[in-house]
């Protein structure tokens, strides 16, 4: 039995390594795609483009404007009237317009000054964060004006000053996060794709018949298809974590690489099983790809990387628990980025293991049925 399986694995292995385009894609997925992807995601507020309609043109209005600073805000220009304001917002040149009325300076000193913020709500999240920041800016400016008006020293008014400290990523560098996310996503996609591809190829070339009439058992066929993927993808992931994420983005890697590697192997095994199941169900490559997407996208969007699980609707929150991607993403950040050990990530590891066993069982059953 040993030699039969070994021969089959050898065949799969050389088939994979002789397919230059596929190897090139795997390499690109773990280098170039991670590099570009690392620059993409993130709904946070950064250089939020704002325009100003300053009808006051006073020291007070300039003082207010000076508080709209990088990294959150970027004043992209001044508009001279309502029509221009509408054009800027409509055209998306500015996501926010600050309107400072003519009496702002007088009122700011005496009390009752108002300024208007018109915000483009189509990017609802950024608009919400921007609103929160501007409320803070208005509040702090008011306090300073009050202090001056009442002639008290700074800090002599009852005020709460929230000092924010950010753990793990003090400057909230986006690429630290999205680079790793991209690696996790590539692991997910490539594991499923490679496994599915190895199977669909046999079907399309008609060689599946040869395998089915050969003395090869269904589990041997399954193993042979999975092994190259399980060997290749986790290694590529490690390479990407060190080469791109750590090497280029300078993301600190704080945790145990061995643990990450071990769990990645299990995870890739689980996803490769899923990929193989899909490949067995589909009649041709086109169908396989569509089925794959149907499963892949919801899994990736429910990974918790886009929306925190606690903000999801209840249905999705529970659904996300059966998505191996969610466990893997959580596991990956905890281990690599936060430096947590097994004591912290065991629930995720258990989830990946359980789903892995389940997907493996389904896949093996499908294979057995295929053989009959």
């Amino acid at each position: 039995m040993g030699s039969r399986l070994a021969a089959m694995i050898r065949k799969e292995w050389s088939q994979l390594f002789r397919d230059v385009p596929i190897l090139l894609f795997v390499i690109w997925a773990f280098t170039g795609a991670v590099y570009t992807g690392g620059h993409g995601v993130g709904a946070e507020l950064r250089n939020y483009p704002m325009a100003v309609l300053d009808l006051s043109r006073s020291a007070e209005s300039r003082e207010l404007l000076s508080r709209f600073r990088a990294p959150y805000f970027k004043i992209v220009g001044h508009v001279s009237g309502d029509a221009e304001l509408v054009r800027w917002l409509d055209g998306g040149r500015a996501s926010l317009v600050l309107v400072i009325p003519a009496d702002f300076d007088r009122r700011a000193q005496q009390g009752g000054a108002r300024f208007q913020v018109i915000s483009d709500g189509s990017q609802s999240m950024s608009a919400t964060i921007a609103g929160a920041h501007i409320a803070g800016i208005a509040g702090r400016y008011s306090v300073e004006l009050l202090e001056a008006r009442m002639g008290v020293a700074h800090g002599r008014l009852p005020q709460v000053d929230a000092r924010v400290r950010v753990e793990y990523n003090p400057n909230l560098v986006e690429t630290w996060f999205s680079g790793l996310l991209e690696v996790f996503n590539q692991v997910t996609m490539i594991a499923m794709l490679l496994a599915a591809a190895a199977m669909v190829r046999e079907r399309e070339h008609g060689t599946i018949e040869h395998l089915l009439v050969s003395p090869l058992r269904s589990w041997e066929l399954f193993t042979a298809k999975v092994v190259p993927v399980v060997v290749l993808v986790p290694l590529a992931a490690l390479g990407s974590v060190f080469g791109i994420v750590h090497g280029v983005f300078a993301t600190p890697i704080r945790g145990s690489v061995a643990l990450f590697y071990a769990v990645t192997v299990i995870y890739v095994f689980a996803l490769a099983s899923l990929g193989l199941t899909i490949a067995v169900l589909a009649r041709n490559l086109g169908q396989a790809m569509l089925l794959l997407l149907l499963i892949l996208y919801p899994m990736m969007l429910l990974s918790g990387a886009f929306t925190p699980p606690e903000s999801m609707g209840p249905l999705m929150r529970y659904a996300s628990l059966v998505s191996p991607v969610r466990h893997y993403v959580d596991f990956g950040y905890q281990v690599l980025f936060k430096g947590n050990g097994l004591a912290y990530v065991w629930p995720d590891v258990a989830g990946i293991l359980a789903l892995g066993v389940l997907l493996f069982a389904i896949s093996i059953r499908r294979f057995a049925r295929l053989a009959r």
Binding site: H39, A43, A113, V117, S122, V160
Partner: protein
């Protein structure tokens, strides 16, 4: 029989259509999968970060600290998951992810505030998800600002200056286009762009390379059909499928999700058509340069499917991307279609506002088709 220009293209289109119809599973999937995705994600995916897990360490236990915590509890942004004993425990909760934000109220908090002085408050935010960290910090800031305003008003009343009109600077917030700040108004149109970015190229990427693998490409090579005939004929049915996807998703977004739509349907339709041509053309281009179906699929995945979410602007306003990200996003047609889609759904306005984006899409359609035409050689080997 006299031939009309485009006759041959139509003949090829007829053949492709028939082939498509003979694989009903495939065609069904091509229509059902996008629809399922939009239903699934539209119903449940929300980018509203609400109910962030927050824990509090209250060293003060005064009226003041309780009032502040009340502000946190009553905010929809946070869900209080625990009141902890000390900094050590707080760090542990952030580490294990049980809390994303910890608010630490020092012992002299109430004393200082009651004495009319300012008090500090420690906020620890988990930065491993930067967006979430920033949002958490912004929410705490908003809650503090609200609390501060109340404190100051009470203080001013006590000092005989308690007139609302005397409050120095007040912000008035007006939200346009999406006044209720609902993320469905933003996600569902965004999904339209993403889905039309994924499926058309995925379907069309197999068209040429499949014939090459099965050898039937020779029939095309020997036929009198020109390269344009072949490309147009192959593209036509798939542009139609892609446009059908668009119509279905549009219908679902309006009637099922009740997304706000203030623009002109025809502008959106023109945009969708141009964009479909771009994406089907991209698939065909990939199909002409690859040698196996598998390679074509992988190229489509990495070239169109994977960057769809990252760079189409569905989550990130282009202005917030860093230079590399902005460069990539300006390079792909999805960004311009997104302008048309978001504009049509949420902003309205007249045609002039959309002309630049539509022209760029047209330019892309022309460039991509020409590239496919150039790389399709009627030659063996």
């Amino acid at each position: 029989m006299p031939r009309m220009p485009g006759d041959r293209a139509l003949a090829i289109a007829r053949k492709e259509t028939r082939q498509l119809l003979r694989d009903p599973t495939y065609l069904g999937l091509a229509i059902v999968v996008p629809l399922l995705l939009i239903l699934l994600l539209g119903y449940q995916l929300s980018l509203d970060v609400k109910g962030l897990l927050v824990a509090v360490v209250d060293h003060d236990r005064s009226r003041w600290s309780r009032e502040y915590i009340d502000g946190v509890v009553h905010s929809e942004y946070f869900r209080l998951v625990g009141v902890l004993d000390g900094a050590e425990e707080a760090r542990e909760w952030v580490r294990s992810g049980r809390a994303r934000v910890v608010i630490d109220i020092p012992p002299d908090f109430g004393r200082r505030l009651s004495a009319g002085e300012s008090a500090t408050l420690g906020v620890t935010v988990d930065g491993s998800f930067p967006t979430r960290g920033q949002i958490g910090a912004a929410y705490v800031e908003a809650i503090s600002a609200q609390y501060n305003q109340r404190l100051l008003r009470e203080y001013l009343v006590r000092h005989g200056a308690g007139d609302d009109r005397l409050w120095p600077v007040q912000m008035e917030l007006a939200v346009w286009y999406n006044p209720t700040l609902e993320s469905k108004n933003f996600i569902v149109p965004g999904m339209l762009v993403v889905i039309l970015m994924i499926f058309p190229p995925l379907l069309s990427a197999l068209l040429i390379v499949r014939e090459r693998e099965s050898g039937t490409i020779l029939n095309l090579y020997c036929s009198p059909a020109s390269r344009w005939d072949i490309l147009a004929g192959k593209a036509l049915p798939y542009v139609a499928v892609s446009f059908l996807d668009f119509l279905l998703i549009f219908a679902v977004s309006i009637w099922l999700f009740r997304v706000r739509f203030v623009g002109a349907v025809w502008i959106l339709a023109v945009g969708a058509l141009l964009y479909s041509v771009c994406m089907v053309g991209l698939g065909l281009l990939i199909s002409t340069v690859t040698r196996s179906q598998l390679a074509a699929m992988l190229a489509t995945f990495l070239g169109a499917v994977a960057p769809a979410f990252t760079f189409s602007g569905i989550f990130t306003p282009a202005g917030s991307l860093d230079p590399v990200g902005r460069f990539v996003s300006r390079l792909i047609p999805a960004t311009y279609f997104m302008d048309v889609v978001r504009g049509s759904y949420l902003k309205g306005g007249d045609v002039a506002a959309y002309v630049p984006s539509l022209l760029i899409l047209l330019l892309y359609a022309v460039v991509i088709s020409t590239a496919a035409w150039l790389s399709l050689r009627k030659r063996l080997g």
